[in-house]
Symmetry: C2
DNA sequence: TCTGCGTATCGTAATCTAACGATAGGCGGA
DNA sequence: TCCGCCTATCGTTAGATTACGATACGCAGA
């Protein structure tokens, strides 16, 4: 947990935008099943759950601090971030020398709908 | 999808009981994270999502018909059932010569709470 | 331009997963 | 008792996942 001292500025390049529009896609059927499987699979690892919690808690973006919060090597964390990003659960924006991650509210809402449909 | 002709009797040996009591366990923290990871991992496969849907749709138990509904070998389906059972998402009761599966409402509710806490 | 910091990617090894066929076990009916 | 059906388990193979260190890349400041 070594500090790096740049967590103060909340450069919210990715805003909590789009927190209102509803999702018209169906929550059942073959496509929805595949989607639910993909999303839950992406979330199906303790490290990735932890990352999601980090990003949800602080609503602003979180930059490289994520690595400091997990007991994993930098390259491993980067891979987990990639999995979440490919599933559409998070989004990464380049902010100068570093990258800022934040949740993708649309996808998270979608996941909740799909799980809720069970 | 070959029929086997015993889907008529709805022998509900596992009732939709316990659909009311609330869950007092926390939805955050290390234990909850691990739990969420385990549950989502168990659900993170199209075949298992499909099985869950089957069991949720018909509220009664579903016996061996599950194999007929999926394009997989019997042994493979049995393994997926085992994964879901070990995660606590479903329950299997022996009903004479066959086994009846049904969802475990408590765990399903728990999953929804955990996902909802994100 | 050069250096340093933060991140992604590569390469690799160990482990886990998914799928199948074959086989074992348990119960009910003949 | 024996036979047949249904399910679980075993053994195996191919492929995916997880983790790490090493390395490459890109941007800002000296």
């Amino acid at each position: 947990m070594k500090k790096r001292g740049h967590a103060a500025q909340p450069s919210l390049s990715c805003s909590p935008s789009g927190s209102g529009e509803s999702d018209l896609r169906p929550v059942e059927g073959e496509v929805a099943d595949q989607e639910l499987a993909t999303l839950t699979k992406a979330l199906g690892h303790p490290a990735r759950v932890q990352i999601m919690r980090l990003l949800v808690r602080r609503e602003t973006c979180v930059c490289g601090d994520i690595v400091d919060e997990l007991p994993l090597a930098q390259s491993t964390v980067s891979q987990h971030l990639k999995v979440l990003k490919e599933a559409g659960l998070i989004k990464g924006e380049i902010d100068g020398p570093r990258v800022c991650y934040c949740v993708e509210p649309r996808t998270l809402r979608r996941l909740k709908s799909l799980v809720g449909s069970l």
